[in-house]
């Protein structure tokens, strides 16, 4: 009887470990729609933090899968050759921007988001790309973003 209980316990443990392994293996990157941002910041402050002291800013924003909510003026709404939509936030007179690739699950109505408008975007922070060519300006990149309207 005791042996049977031990055997059953081992079988249950194996099933639980296998189920957990299966779940972990097939887990997808979660959409940010229902998730709370880790940090709320303006596009200008985010760009300034990295241009002033990249090392310090990288420590602050270095956590893996960090979700940011960035607010700023919409400079442009770009569509890549592959069909991805990009919200470009920042000062229209500056070459540097916060570039937010929109989550493919989000249906973006381009007429509802006007360049010059002040919006918020929530998404995963990918990092800071300095201007290696001296031609394009430095950029902050975010992915799987969802644009939010100010209430």
């Amino acid at each position: 009887m005791k042996k049977r209980k031990i055997f059953s316990g081992i079988v249950v443990a194996i099933i639980l470990v296998a189920a957990y392994g299966f779940y972990q293996y097939n887990r997808r990157i979660p959409a940010v729609t229902q998730m709370e941002p880790d940090i709320k910041i303006t596009a200008d402050s985010l760009l300034t933090a990295f241009s002033d002291d990249e090392k310090k800013a990288a420590e602050k924003f270095g956590e893996p899968q960090l979700i940011l909510q960035v607010s700023g003026r919409l400079k442009a709404l770009e569509t890549t050759s592959g069909g991805a939509e990009i919200f470009v936030l920042g000062d229209s007179n500056a070459s540097s921007s916060v570039r937010c690739m929109i989550d493919t699950s989000f249906q973006l109505d381009k007429k509802a988001w006007l360049p010059g408008g002040y919006y918020k975007v929530k998404g995963y922070f990918n990092g800071y790309k300095p201007d290696i060519t001296g031609l394009l300006g430095a950029d902050i990149e975010m992915s799987r973003c969802i644009p939010l309207k100010n209430k």
């Binding site: 972990q24 293996y25 097939n26 887990r27 997808r28 990157i29 979660p30 990288a58 270095g62 893996p64 899968q65 770009e78 890549t80 050759s81 592959g82 991805a84 990009i86 570039r99 690739m101 990918n126 990092g127 800071y128 790309k129 290696i132 060519t133 031609l135 394009l136 950029d139 990149e141 992915s143």
Partner: protein, 197 residues
Amino acid sequence: MRIQSALCKNNVRLAVAFLLFFTVISAVSARAQERFFTRNGSIYFNCSGKMEKIEAINKSTTCVLDTKTGALQMALLMRGFEFERALMQEHFNENYVESDRYPRAVFKGTITNLPDVNFSSPGEYKLAVKGNLTIHGVSKDINAEGTAVVKQGSITLKSSLIILLNDYNISIPSLVADKISNTVKMDINCFLQPLQN
């Protein structure tokens, strides 16, 4: 008579001024057309082993091409690679490329067969590129071949290359050696547009 002469002189000055203005504008415009860029280039990589499919794509690659000198620069953020499975993406960033320590990959090179490529005439041209690729804090000289499709106002660069992970100090634990290949195939696709400065 004097008034007529003065008017004539003014017309000549005006014509010279217009000529100078258009010459300068044309020169600036021609200079602007020498450089092409994108911030949304895509790089797909595949390092599937015998047991598992491992592939990812980065759609935010910056690429700048100077058609006059043949200089080509590319940069991307390692965290910009998107995998189908979250676990793979986490392992890629935390255990293999250590994207918190080495957040970027950079390529700086030149087109070595520039005389064979006419960037001002539409067509498809073969490219030979030589340069330096930095990944995981390690820089290596590489050679690559590709194509440039030149159209009116745009250039599409395409290339496929193979790199070895251990060349860049990225080691694969023996436990997963049959799942991850040391050979990485990369497909590059950049749609470049004129850079207006």
